[in-house]
Amino acid sequence: MSALHDEIRELMALYPEARSATLPALRLAQEKHGWLSPEALREAAEGLGETPAYCMSVASFYDMFHLEPVGRHLVEVCTNVSCALVGAQQVLEAFERELEVRAGETTEDGEVTLRTVECLGGCGWATIVALDHRYRTHVQANDVGAIVEELRADG
């Protein structure tokens, strides 16, 4: 049995009903495979004792699960009201220019996926950009070049 299998079993033990471990298990599977590929879903399902179809039906409800491949790095720009009021769209466009992709796409080398997301809960420190889930606050369009360089340097 794989390490993932054992980790999922440990998660299941935290809950009175094992199915509660579905989201954490999918998160682990995604971390291991980069996205919820059919294989990742199969592994998660096996650990949980659910069917892959069940895992797929749950995963498809949640924005943080990737049902298609994504880049090694994830750049998420909040474009909800508070961020948009202070220039989130300009930040997004700067990323589009620097990365040469549109929102929702992955760079050709498979390194970076850029996407917009709904409110990240940092509204007073807008614009919020999540870089591999770490929040950058007060991001402005002219910060974007340096951020992309940093991401690229991170290899």
């Binding site: 009175p16 009903e17 509660s20 924005d63 009201v81 202070v86 929702g104 917009t116 709904e118 007073g124």
Partner: protein, 441 residues
């Protein structure tokens, strides 16, 4: 003006309260000892005396909610405390700061509440995006892991969500915590009777729980002296939008919106004029700049037809087009609708579509009426409040800025790209997750 840190964030400016030793140094976890020396009902009585009302949005009296939980001899199932740390309402980011800066006060609140409702099992459902706050709580829990005296046999499991606004609705949250799609349940039964795993469950917001230790420490009656009648105590208000100093500010209820915006928030940035204020997160009815002398409390806001919601105040300056605001807000709810009820699922889509036509100058008078009609057909016809709050919020833009909407009928948007919300790419427009880039020309 100095930021008042009255109750929930008290001490956090002076000390690093993420550390157990620092929290202990200001009397941290003393309230827990005090509560445990009391019978559960006596703790509930303190909460009733404080008149604390839930900070998650519905403002339901916390002591009353706890008193609905059956006693162990009435229902032998385990009792659960589930913390709502899903904070996803646009404009709100207070729980983010509370978890990050005073995690021990929050945990102490969980432990006191567990005692009051006779529960040994706490689940903290935290939105998946909140990595920093998650780590703060995890590290704080790690510090007390072996302290059985503090934990008192209670287990606290931190459960991370995976990106869905609707999981903030308490029954959707419970579904999600049970490992399912996060779709709301019909009520009744209420969670107090049949919640997590069909057992008695209290669902409380992060800020509500972080307010519990100070209430126990100072006594419910003393807490009730803060703030105003019906809205006792303090509130951590999130200020954002076109302000000089956005951020979270803990204030006593009853301060006016004007004071929040101009004294604490430093006024409107770049010397612009205030145009409108969303007072309690994007689900609340908008106020015009003329309406901001209203005190920030439940009754006063209800009197002007709006609500405190999750205390996310968004200030909007005079460059912003209200039709564009409607589009962006409608797109959010369209994206986040769980799809269970037709009026919400389809209605939010229609709202966006009509607003887009208006913005493009392609709508006729009758379509403005159609927009309000669609809102009306969502209102009161949905399982949970998501659909109807979306409809009421957007309808309020039309009702309060009608001239601006009418101006869009002849020739389109008078603001165009001057407005910061022009052409903003919302997630709902960007569903293609193409694995490989289509490089823009």
């Amino acid at each position: 003006m100095a930021e008042p840190r009255l109750v929930v964030l008290q001490g956090a400016d002076e000390r690093d309260l993420t550390k157990l030793s620092e929290y202990r140094a200001i009397g941290g976890y003393d309230a827990l000892a005090k509560a445990r020396a009391l019978a559960p009902q006596a703790v509930i009585d303190e909460l009733l005396a404080s008149n604390l009302r839930g900070r998650g949005g519905a403002f339901f009296a916390t002591g009353r909610k706890w008193s609905f939980i059956p006693k162990p001899d009435q229902n032998p199932n385990p009792h659960y405390l589930v913390v709502n740390a899903d904070e996803s309402e646009p404009g709100s980011f207070k729980d983010n700061e509370i978890l990050s800066r005073v995690p021990h006060r929050f945990i102490e609140g969980c432990l006191i509440t567990a005692h009051a409702v006779e529960s040994k099992h706490v689940f903290v459902y935290i939105r998946g995006e909140y990595l920093g706050p998650f780590e703060a709580v995890r590290d704080a829990l790690e510090e007390i892991r072996d302290d059985e005296r503090l934990l008192g046999g209670v287990t606290i499991v931190v459960h991370r969500g995976a990106g869905a606004y609707i999981c903030g609705e308490e029954t959707a949250l419970l579904e999600s915590l049970e490992g399912k799609r996060g779709q709301p349940r019909s009520k009744p039964p209420f969670p107090a009777i049949s919640g997590l795993y069909a057992s008695p469950t209290v669902v409380n917001n992060v800020e509500t729980l972080a307010t519990v230790p100070p209430i126990v420490a100072m006594g419910g009656a003393a807490y009730a002296k803060l703030g105003v009648e019906n809205s006792t105590g303090t509130r951590v208000v999130s200020l954002s939008g076109n302000l000089v100093r956005g951020g979270n500010y803990e204030v006593a209820h009853g301060i006016t919106l004007r004071e929040l915006i101009y004294d604490l928030g430093g006024g409107i940035a770049e010397g612009r004029e205030l145009k409108a204020v969303i007072p309690g997160g994007s689900s609340t009815v908008i106020l015009t700049a003329e309406e901001i002398d209203v005190p920030y409390d439940y009754d006063a806001l209800a009197e002007v037809g709006t609500a405190m919601g999750s205390a996310g105040v968004i200030a909007i300056d005079d460059r912003c087009c209200m039709v564009q605001l409607g589009i962006r807000v409608s797109e959010f709810y369209e994206h986040e609708s769980c799809g269970k009820c037709t009026p919400c699922r389809e209605g939010t889509r229609w709202m966006t579509a009509i607003l887009r036509k208006l913005e493009a100058g392609e709508a006729s008078d009758s379509e403005l009426d159609l927009l309000l009609d669609v809102c009306d057909r969502i209102n009161g016809k949905c399982l949970c409040p998501l659909g109807e709050t979306a409809a009421m919020a957007v309808a309020s833009y039309v009702l309060k800025f009608r001239d601006e909407f009418l101006a869009h009928l002849d020739g389109g948007c008078p603001f165009g790209s001057q407005s910061p919300l022009d052409g903003v790419v919302a997630p709902v427009n960007q569903h293609t997750h193409s694995p490989v880039a289509e490089v823009p020309a």
